[in-house]
Amino acid sequence: MDPHEGQGTSHEPTPTVWPVGFAVGIACIFVGLIISKIVLVVGVVIAAIFGFLWIRDATKPFRHEEAPAEAEPPPAPRQPPGARAAGPEPGEGEIVRYPRSKFLEATTLGLGALIGVVVTAPVLGFTVLPPFIKQGHPKVDVGAIEDFPENKFVIATYLLKPADGEVSRRTAYIRNNGFLGESPSFTIVSNRCVHLGCPVQVNGLPLADETKTERTAGNNVVTRIPTAAAAGFGCPCHGGQYDTEGNRTAGPPVRALDRYEFEIVDGRLLLGKTFAVSEVDGTAADAKIHTYPLAGPGQHVDGPEAWLYPVQPPR
């Protein structure tokens, strides 16, 4: 409805956004006075432009121009009573709803929504994002090469992040394969079952009497338990079985056991990141390992089932 209807003498200003820009300009001027001349100049320019536009808009009726078309339907053709856009004809004593009140309604709702988003976004981000950020860990020194006898698995436990305490203790099964050409070869298998993450055990005899505990670099506490006659690995939770290369031989696991990247610095064995393995051909130093980026337990890394996990979170 048109607020000017039937009031030819009304000098009501039409709803306009120019004052908002003008206010921004004034704010810029004040900020500029304190921090920088450039901002001051920008503020003056903004205020001038929007001020001019505002004045031009507000003085339109005096300059005998055509009233600007409004968002509301034009006044001329009277709509049939009850038509939604026209609204009900105000009765005696009823409140007339001007377009400006609708504008204020929209502004209030819009600002409310904006404030809601501004407040919620950081909180939601704080809840969801930290698990994906800074998830790496330093390389772990698990002992000298001589601590790992050839062709025998050693159960090595260490702290992934010593600052986090025992909750970060992990286990790796490490076998020294001797040399491959000139460089030493190791098979380092994660104990995390790739069915659902339980700890797999060596199917063999841990020689507990020969356990060695060593405090290594970065305040880490590493224990090494040699084993005898390790014939593979088994998971106590749901019966997954693996051979000595980590290939699945029975039970529900979906791929071979995860392995560790490693490097040797000054004769010490350092464990790096873990990666996923679909299967291993061959054994020991001659093994051909089909590697994939690390995925969670139970997630396929090869075959059509891998299409179910197209994106992995950063690690």
Partner: protein
């Protein structure tokens, strides 16, 4: 004497009613009852005459929830959600504190009772067809309550921080992480990292005692409001509901637990 002195009972009634009336006057909307009237209506509203003990399962589940809430709040006064002290604080609650074993036991076994009662209540509603129009929304809300109740179980299971709790949670989280597409992201969000770590316990604790109970309380409120709003349904075989007169003499009025109706007084 012209005027009889008010009896002790009258005085007592007046004394009790005064604050209630005060509250009612200040909470009522014109034409509607206020807080006191609302509670009165909730407690003494009319229900069909041919309902049975099966209809009390919802209230029983609500009671179980309240027991869980109260015992949980008390346990939270002694429990420490930190990997280095959680197990010890549980041991302290169970072995050292007065009646700690009882409150913890109520919470631990009450959790199962809550879920069992939810299922029984759900079964009653299903078999009676009480989920049909106009009560579908309440069925949906009830299903959400069941899901949230089971999440309570999942997140609460880790809190004792023993080997069972730890590995069961490892398996549970990894199970959810095998969900297609979002699974690899769901696991870390649940655990606060790629594995169970120092933040996992506090995260589960917060979810277990703040986030989910809050949602549950809200949904239970909505559930109850709809029950009162729409009313309790009669059994499908109800003759009154089918428009037939009750066979036999009218049932003797029941007086609840204090004076239950004599055996055989009600006939279908």
């Amino acid at each position: 004497m012209a005027k009889k002195k008010p009896s002790r009972l009258d005085q007592l009634v007046k004394l009790v009613l005064y604050p209630l009336n005060w509250l009612e006057e200040r909470t009522s909307i014109p034409g509607h009852s206020g807080l006191v009237g609302g509670i009165k209506y909730f407690l003494f509203r009319k229900v069909p005459s041919d309902i049975s003990w099966g209809h009390t399962l919802g209230s029983a589940a609500l009671t179980a929830f309240i027991v869980q809430a109260v015992t949980g709040v008390i346990l939270a006064m002694y429990y420490k959600p930190d990997p280095n002290s959680a197990y010890e604080s549980i041991r302290h609650i169970t072995d050292d504190l007065w009646a700690g074993w009882l409150v913890r036991g109520m919470h631990r076994w009450g959790a199962s009772v809550f879920i069992i009662l939810l299922f029984l209540h759900m079964g009653r509603v299903f078999l009676y067809g009480a989920y049909k129009y106009p009560r579908e929304l309440n069925w949906i809300i009830g299903a959400l309550i069941l899901v949230l109740g089971m999440m309570e179980g999942f997140f609460g299971y880790l809190l004792p921080w023993d080997q069972t709790a730890y590995w069961a949670t490892v398996v549970g989280v990894n199970l959810q992480a095998t969900g297609p597409f979002v699974g690899p992201f769901l696991g870390p969000v649940l655990q606060g990292g790629h594995d169970i770590g120092p933040d996992t316990l506090a995260r589960f604790y917060s979810l277990h005692m703040l986030v989910i109970p809050g949602a549950l309380a809200g949904l239970i409120g909505l559930h109850l409001w709809l029950v009162v709003r729409i009313g309790v349904s009669s059994p499908p075989w109800s003759p009154t509901e089918a428009g037939r007169p009750q066979p036999g003499p009218p049932p003797a009025p029941r007086k609840g637990l204090v004076a239950p109706a004599p055996r055989g007084a009600r006939r279908r």
